[in-house]
């Protein structure tokens, strides 16, 4: 203990340097964690979190009683997570390999620059772009096809629309990470394979993809903790928060955001938040545990 204190004193400069970030994390991330006790309270704004009376598991009873709302948004959250993660990872890898294999490097770089741009556009702006394509009267899709589809009031279209928008926005950027791995593969491996008579496909399957596996693992692992969280902007902005679409577009995060604005139903919402945080934590621990078994080097902790 004494030596620990001595060590800390010797490193007091480092303690001071770490302090600002420590404090910001404390006030922005750690204190709200304590706020999760709201889930077990009958929250009243005027009494504050600590002053509100306890109510045991009452809020969670609401959750289960309101089957539709809760199950729909949980289902949507999970399914979109699975869809976006699976399809996103697949497309990231395919695009990274495609660009890597393309021999006209200058051209590839220019194309890549354009592919990455969408990630830098906020959903508040993306929303207007999507509108230009799918609005009923002025939308490009309805006009070129001579159709009259009312996208903004037809829930069944949205899984497709949201997937396209999400992939449009993120795949170009997501592939950069994988490309950086590909750039690190020793070219001698390919040359050796060529001498052994392996064609391009064989090289990709036996050299390129195995080289990407660790990065894919880490990225999936990192994403698993967010299984209950969504890209709020996608579900809140792009759908214009339209109530008629909720059956396919409402996710936990957008529900909570709405509840905050309506200033209502905090018991239900806090129980949902609690559920969201706990599931996230468990998934993260689980995923990390699995990875630590399979390949310890890629585990996060």
């Amino acid at each position: 203990m004494k030596s620990f204190l001595e060590n800390t004193w010797k490193h007091r400069a480092h303690v001071i340097m770490a302090l600002p970030a420590f404090l910001i994390l404390f006030f922005i991330m750690y204190v709200p964690m304590a706020g999760l006790v709201m889930a077990f309270k009958n929250f009243d704004f005027s009494k504050g979190i600590w002053g509100s009376p306890w109510c045991g598991f009452n809020n969670f009873k609401f959750l289960l009683a309101s089957k539709n709302t809760f199950f729909t948004m949980t289902r949507n959250t999970l399914l979109y997570y699975l869809l976006f993660t699976a399809l996103g990872t697949f497309l990231n890898v395919v695009l990274a390999i495609a660009i890597d294999q393309f021999l006209f490097k200058r051209l590839a770089k220019t194309m890549q620059t354009i592919m990455i741009i969408p990630v830098f556009i906020s959903y508040a702006a993306v929303q207007f772009i999507v509108y230009a394509f799918i609005s009923t009267d002025t939308g490009i899709i309805n006009n070129t096809m001579g159709a009259n589809i009312r996208f903004y009031s037809t829930a069944s279209w949205w899984p497709l629309i949201l997937t396209i928008v999400k992939m449009w926005k993120d795949v170009g950027y997501g592939s950069v990470l994988y490309m950086s791995v590909l750039a690190g593969i020793d070219t001698e491996l390919y040359e050796a394979a060529q001498i052994d008579g392996a064609n391009k496909w064989k090289q990709i399957i036996h050299i390129t993809i195995p080289a990407l596996i660790p990065m894919i693992t880490v990225m999936l692992l990192l994403s698993v903790g967010n299984v209950m969280r969504s890209d709020t902007g996608l579900f809140y902005q792009v759908t214009r928060n339209s109530g008629t679409l909720y059956s396919t577009t409402q996710v936990i995060d957008s529900y909570v955001l709405n509840a905050i604005f309506k200033n209502s139903n905090f018991g239900f919402t806090s129980a949902t938040s609690f559920f969201q945080s706990i599931v996230g934590l468990l998934m993260m621990l689980f995923a990390n545990g699995v990875v630590r078994k399979v390949s310890p080097d890629d585990a996060l902790f």
Partner: protein, 310 residues
């Protein structure tokens, strides 16, 4: 990635490999995907310079019947608000990015000191928020009714300021790319801890700072959620919130056919129209698109070196 540009030979494939028909097919698909990514953005440009009537009658189009500057001009009607919002967004972006980079790199530097025993605790402390967090609702309640920061710019700055991922990227860069001997040598030469950090480590950290900084700046520039949750005064509205407000007022007009004509007239120039809305979008996303190509090489490199974890 590190190839020098401006060399005509780069346009041709490298000598060793022949470009077969496969290369052209691959190129074709990549080109299609590039169009898929680029065309929606091009549409923003085109719509911003399209004639309003052409859009209302024929819909949005890549080939508008008539071009017009009216959209861009009418954006100036938002005039002072647009200017204010630009100011707020720029301030938050610049201040937040610099603050974040400073405190995160100091933190990353501290926890990468090998004989610093507290660093183990600090690393865990850093990691926990990635595993577990309080969620939006309790954040909202804490920030507004305990910190009393409603309508404060701090709530646009602090929540995006320190993120676990970015600290890890910086720490990995320090551990892998900055030789420890260098810092030892500085110490032997009599430089204090702070001087070592600011004069040796920080300059060497530049590529990683550029990468992380650019990603942070984009996050700040594009942040709409905190603004929507916390900012109420016009004077403090960032650009993204302005965009959201425009959309809301369009919706209001669409959903309320019975808004009296006099009220419409009173709103006069403020009734947002297609071309002027797109012009606003263009003005909001423009700066990032102009700056981004200059940073591209940094964040590709920064991501490469920092990879994901240490």
């Amino acid at each position: 990635m590190s190839k020098r540009k401006g060399n005509a030979a780069d346009l041709a494939p490298s000598k060793k490999e022949k470009k077969g028909i496969g290369q052209y097919i691959l190129g074709f698909f990549l080109f299609l995907y590039t169009l898929f990514c680029g065309l929606p953005i091009l549409l923003v440009f085109i719509a911003a310079f399209s004639d309003e009537k052409a859009i209302t009658q024929n819909g949005f189009s890549f080939f508008p019947e008539k071009w017009s500057l009216a959209g861009i001009n009418s954006v100036l009607r938002y005039g002072s608000q647009l200017l204010t919002s630009y100011g707020v967004t720029i301030f938050v972006t610049v201040f937040g990015t610099f603050l974040g980079l400073l405190v995160m790199s100091m933190f990353a530097y501290s926890i990468s000191r090998k004989d610093f025993r507290l660093s183990k605790f600090l690393s865990i402390y850093l990691l926990i928020p990635m595993l577990f967090n309080g969620g939006q609702l309790s954040g909202y309640v804490i920030f507004t009714s305990y910190y009393h920061l409603k309508d404060s710019l701090w709530l646009l700055i602090l929540p995006l300021c320190v993120t676990t991922m970015n600290v890890i990227i910086l720490r990995t860069y320090i551990a892998n790319s900055i030789p420890n001997e260098l810092m030892e040598a500085a110490k032997i030469d009599g430089a204090g801890e702070y001087r070592t950090f600011f004069q040796i480590t920080l300059p060497l950290l530049k590529p990683s700072l550029a990468a992380v900084g650019f990603m942070m700046a984009t996050a700040y520039w594009n942040d709409w959620q905190n603004a929507l949750l916390y900012i109420t005064t016009d004077r403090k509205k960032p650009l993204q919130l302005l965009l959201i407000n425009i959309q809301k007022s369009i919706e209001f007009l669409l959903n309320n056919a019975n808004v009296p004509a006099s009220a419409r007239a009173a709103m006069g120039g403020n009734i947002p129209q297609y071309s002027s809305t797109m012009a606003t979008v263009l003005i909001v996303i423009g700066p990032i698109m102009i700056v981004y190509p200059f940073f591209q090489k940094y964040f590709v490199k920064g991501l490469t070196v920092g990879s994901v974890k240490g």
